[in-house]
């Protein structure tokens, strides 16, 4: 009963401190909305592909036009024709991040290619950044496809010349150009193709497993749940500062009961915060959180319990509000980064990913993504939930151990 009294008291305090409560819920929503608007608008209105400058000094040739078409057909990049003035600054545009790369087609490129000599294109690219690497791979694929067309045209012409004669160089050129056109058209509808599906996703869900917010949304929930550490730890510190803790000494309440009471109160607040964020993600961003509601509730609940327990530990050891903010921010940055809330762990080095996967935040990400991306069921979250509960129990025990009334 005392535990519940303490929890109710904490809840009343949180509700009364509207400015802090507003920050806890409004800030992550503003954050999600902001990135939804920025990147959502990008997806809806702008071409999200990486811009690659295209400088064509071979205007007379259809080969360079074919190359432009192939670049336009890429899923990863979009060619941006640079005028004469911009062409001179192509390198600077790449350096400053305005372009992911710049492709320069030299004069006579098409002629060299059709003459069965090795053509040369120049690609200005910063190979030390991911956008540059993506652009480089996409340009490489388009150039290879172009060279394939040229190769097919040459083989066709050679085959023809074994049976008949092409009367003049002009006729040969026309033959090659026709072969290029035919080859280009055939590639648009290739007889063999490759298709990609998401495992576990039903036919109805196929479009949603590639939702761009499948990483951002759980990542934001993970990060801002940890942000509530400031509030959780602050409760203990402010009670100690105000002398309320000393007053509690005169009552028959144990340290474990005090921590449990505050944990319960803060758990309700953090769960409410998560509920708002999950509802926003579901209704506004279209993330499939409600596919298995019980599983999401378990993951969110277990993760919230761990965060609150950590908050109690910080509150138990911190001596001032400043220390609370410091330890809470450090925890938010470290657990968010290591747990894969900011970027998927598969993009990091092996050691970082291995260490990261020891953190509760990584297990919470796994739990959320098992439902919203992998389309798995309740059983898929039992391991993450179990690990989160074990962490929560350990941190709760540490908080009780370290807790002092003064």
């Amino acid at each position: 009963m005392r535990i519940i009294d303490l929890a109710v008291k904490d809840l009343r305090q949180v509700v009364r401190d509207r400015k802090s409560a507003l920050f806890l819920v409004a800030m992550p929503i503003v954050f999600m909305l902001f990135f939804s608007l920025i990147f959502g608008a990008q997806g809806a209105q702008r071409d999200p592909r990486l811009p690659v400058g295209f400088v064509n000094h071979d205007l007379a040739s259809s080969v360079s036009t074919d190359l432009f078409s192939l670049l336009e057909g890429s899923d990863a990049i979009r060619p941006v024709v640079l005028d004469q003035k911009q062409a001179g600054k192509a390198g600077e545009l790449v350096r400053d991040g305005k372009l992911a790369a710049a492709l320069i087609v030299p004069d006579g490129f098409g002629q060299v290619a059709l003459a069965a000599r090795q053509p040369k294109l120049t690609l200005i690219v910063a190979a030390d950044n991911p956008a540059g690497q993506t652009a480089s791979n996409a340009v490489d694929a388009a150039v290879t496809r172009l060279l394939a067309n040229v190769q097919i045209a040459q083989l066709s012409a050679e085959a023809f010349e074994t049976s008949a004669q092409l009367a003049s160089e002009t006729e040969r050129q026309a033959y090659l150009e026709q072969a290029l056109t035919l080859s280009n058209a055939a590639w648009r509808n290739p007889p063999l193709s490759v298709t990609v599906e998401g495992a576990g996703a039903t036919e109805r869900d196929q479009p949603s497993w590639q939702n761009a917010y499948n990483q951002t949304s759980p990542g934001t929930i993970i990060q801002f749940t940890i942000y509530s550490l400031i509030m959780c730890a602050g409760v203990l510190v402010s009670e100690r500062k105000s002398g309320a803790m000393q007053r509690l000494l005169t009552t028959p309440i144990s340290r474990a009961q005090i921590i449990a009471g505050h944990t319960l109160g803060m758990l309700v607040v953090v769960l409410a915060q998560q509920a708002v964020l999950i509802a926003f993600s579901y209704f506004v961003l279209g993330i499939q959180y409600l596919r298995v509601p019980l599983a999401i509730l378990l993951v969110a609940g277990a993760y919230a319990l761990w965060v609150v327990s950590l908050g109690m530990l910080i509150g138990a050891v911190a001596r001032s509000d400043d220390q609370v903010v410091m330890w809470s921010l450090i925890a938010m940055f470290v657990f968010s980064a290591l747990g894969g809330a900011w970027f998927p762990l598969e993009f990091t080095g092996k050691a970082f990913a291995a260490i990261g996967h020891l953190t509760p935040s990584a297990w919470a990400m796994d739990g959320f993504q098992n439902i919203i991306m992998r389309g798995l069921g309740l059983s898929s979250v039992l391991l993450p939930v179990g690990i989160l509960l074990a962490y929560a129990a350990a941190f709760f025990a540490l908080a009780v151990w370290r807790f002092r009334f003064e």
Binding site: I124, D140, V143, L147, E197, V325, Q369
Partner: protein, 423 residues
């Protein structure tokens, strides 16, 4: 003189407080270290360490009886199992599509590849088509992307050969010349040989038709790693400098709450002198923090911050902007209980809007880059990025001036509100 005494007292108080020292100096370096550890490998000479992708492959391909020597499904498996790809892929044969899909679903594989029954037939028969299905763990992108790239490369070789034959047939037909089967086979074989050679070149990371050129840099970085570290450290340094601005301005609220500010007001000292002293304390603290971070990060991560005059100019702008912003934010805070969430919240949000947590991401949407410039953080980021790229005083002048102007306005508003509160 009293003003400086108050400022000095505040500075000593901050530097004696262990947690403030940690926040000002240790955390930004620690955060950069974490990111450096996470992504530093990308810039190393050994290249990015891509994890091995577990692939379950199902070969349903049944080559037509008349061309049983050609089994493209088998050839695709051999291609994926080639020893050169062993560091990228771990290929296992699965008996059927259902078990391969299940393997991906229960995360014992990242990718399943299902080769259709008519794969060889479609590659050889005009008008017939076939599709290879890749089933991937939806939470992965890197491994499945590599598998798709490799399979597409293999399939393109077959498609090209088929297209080559069809182009020959079409062109010969238009000219009324009958095509011999040998001619078609010869064309397909020659194309396949070309495709294999091309694939080998690409496999070695070379495309003979593409010459890669690095964009011009004003300053050559010591290594690619330092570029990554420089960008990350810039974001962290700016975030924590702004944090110090707000954190040190918080002392006004703290002294007010502890009653020491009221005691100071009873002494024969003007309110403006007391508040002025506290504001100078904020400035000096930030200057000390900035100098330490610039030097420590240069030593720890080998970051070359740029030309000294440009760095000095940006530092002045940053100090004014961070101090002004801190005073402004704290002027809205009523007590220390509010200070924690408000400072943490406003700084995290403004840092995100200002782009401090996305410094490593290239080609951000133009709209986002524009919005960044609504905050002093965004201008600070722009200026320091220019300095890192080797920009001189003329390059960083605009960001520095904007930071100065924004900082002055924030400071004026914040100081006005404090003076009003303590009048």
């Amino acid at each position: 003189m009293k003003m400086l005494d108050i400022a000095l007292k505040d500075l000593l108080r901050y530097l004696r407080t262990a947690f403030l020292v940690v926040m000002m100096f240790v955390v930004p370096l620690l955060m950069t270290g974490i990111f450096y550890f996470a992504f530093g490998g990308q810039g190393s000479s050994a290249g990015f360490n891509v994890p091995v992708t577990r692939v379950q492959i199902v070969n349903l391909d049944r080559p037509p009886a008349q061309s049983s020597r050609l089994a493209f499904g088998e050839m695709l498996i051999e291609f994926l199992q080639h020893e050169k790809l062993a560091t990228l892929l771990q290929v296992t044969i699965a008996p059927d599509g259902a078990s391969a899909r299940e393997a991906v679903k229960n995360r014992s594989a990242e990718v399943a590849v299902i080769i259709p029954a008519n794969f060889t037939s479609a590659a050889l028969t005009p008008g017939e088509g076939a599709t290879i299905t890749i089933v991937q763990d939806p939470a992965r992108t890197l491994g499945p992307g590599i598998v798709k790239g490799l399979i597409s490369q293999f399939v393109d070789g077959l498609v090209g050969a088929k297209i080559a034959a069809s182009v020959v047939m079409e062109q010969f037909g238009q000219r009324g010349i009958a095509v011999q089967a040998d001619t078609l086979q010869n064309v397909a074989v020659q194309y396949a040989a070309w495709a294999v050679a091309q694939g080998q070149s690409r496999g070695e990371g070379k495309n003979p038709a593409l010459e890669l050129e690095a964009p011009p840099r004003k300053v050559e970085p010591a290594s690619e790693k330092t570029v990554v570290a420089g960008l990350i450290m810039t974001g962290m340094m700016l975030f924590f400098v702004f944090y110090t601005g707000a954190g040190t301005a918080e002392s006004i609220i703290q002294e007010d709450e502890e009653g020491t500010l009221a005691r100071l007001f009873t002494t024969p000292t003007l309110h403006s002198v007391i508040l002025g002293g506290k504001f100078i304390g904020v400035f000096i603290t930030i200057i000390v923090q900035l100098i330490v971070l610039l030097i420590a990060s240069a030593l720890a991560f080998g970051i070359h911050w740029g030309e000294l005059p440009a760095v000095v100019l940006l530092s002045i702008g940053l100090v004014v902007a961070a101090a002004g912003f801190g005073v402004f934010v704290m002027s809205f805070v009523k007590n220390m209980r509010q200070a924690g969430p408000v400072v943490g919240g406003v700084l995290t949000l403004s840092g995100m809007v200002g782009g401090l947590f996305t410094t490593g991401i290239q080609n951000l949407p133009a709209a986002y880059e524009t919005i960044q410039l609504l905050t002093p953080h965004g201008w600070a980021l722009r200026g320091w990025k220019l300095a890192l790229a080797g920009g001189g005083v003329s390059d960083v002048l605009l960001p520095a001036l904007v930071m100065l102007a924004m900082g002055a306005v924030y400071f004026a508003v914040g100081a006005f509100l404090f003076r009003k509160r303590f009048a």
